[in-house]
Amino acid sequence: MTGGVEAVLFWGLGAVAVAAGIAVFRTDSMARATYALAASFVAVGAQVLFLHLDYVGVVVVLMMVMEMAVMAVYMVMFMGMNPALMPMSMVHSRRTSLGIALGAFLVLGGGALLVPWPSRRGAPALDLTASLGEAVMGSKMLVMLVVSPVLFSTIVAALVLALPRGRYDRLGDDLRRRPADDPQPGGAGR
């Protein structure tokens, strides 16, 4: 892949990502917004691949696809909306947010262009993914040690918030009631 083609491809993907991003907020249907977001993420994942971060790129793409699926299920379950039709434009103070967004873009973009970025320090390892593995298990082990309780606490916190009924509602105060009293009949051992 020659430099020129690579640049064109990269910019293309960038344009796709930004266009999809804008589309997310312009469409009036939640479903289309979700698909636009997925497209934007895939584009970003691809761009990351361009930057030789294969592992991270693939992870981003896969994760985003799964998340979009969850979001779709979520909207149907809760919003009770037919993903296709629901016209909604619940927007407020459009002008101020547009102003702030443009301002942010100008500042960050301008900064990106004008700042005398230093030159690269040190060469990338031959096998990036392997070096990542060593870093995770080596110098940055504590980061991973801390990420695990983060995920654990996310699970606990999310369930505490989301679940309307706890174990005592299902199995009684002394947790002895069998079969469990669930709103939906059926399930194992019934």
């Binding site: 640049a7 990269f10 910019w11 960038g14 990502a17 930004v18 991003g21 997310v24 907020f25 939640m30 917004a33 977001l37 934007s40 993420f41 970003v44 761009q47 990351v48 361009f50 930057l51 030789h52 971060l53 991270v56 992870v59 998340e67 979520y74 809760f78 919003m79 909604m88 619940m90 407020h92 103070s93 101020t96 947010s97 702030i100 967004a101 942010a104 873009f105 960050l108 973009g109 990106a112 262009l113 970025w117 690269r120 320090r121 040190g122 990338p124 070096s131 990542l132 870093a135 995770v136 110098s139 940055k140 980061v143 990420v147 983060v150 995920l151 999310a158 369930l159 918030l161 989301a162």
Partner: protein
Amino acid sequence: MTLQAVLVIAAALFAVGLYGAISQQVLVMVMMGLELMVNAVILAAAGLWWFLAPTPDGHVLLLVVVAAMTVEMAMGFAVATVLHRSRGSDMTDMSTDLKR
């Protein structure tokens, strides 16, 4: 493609995300805006890492960012659920009892 290009695209994405986060009323849409901003951060981090300091430690940062995104989204859905259940609607503008 140069660092500036990557950063400009990232800035654009960030701006769009910010616009969405501020202008949208529905919590889920606000979360989408936040996700776009995280995406911009991932892209910027990748660019910066590649063009400035491709060290393995920097690489771990990207993993952390991705992990942070997933955790925030998970919590976002949980908050949306509890908001929906206890207040009947997940519009941020509808829940303004706590003020002044």
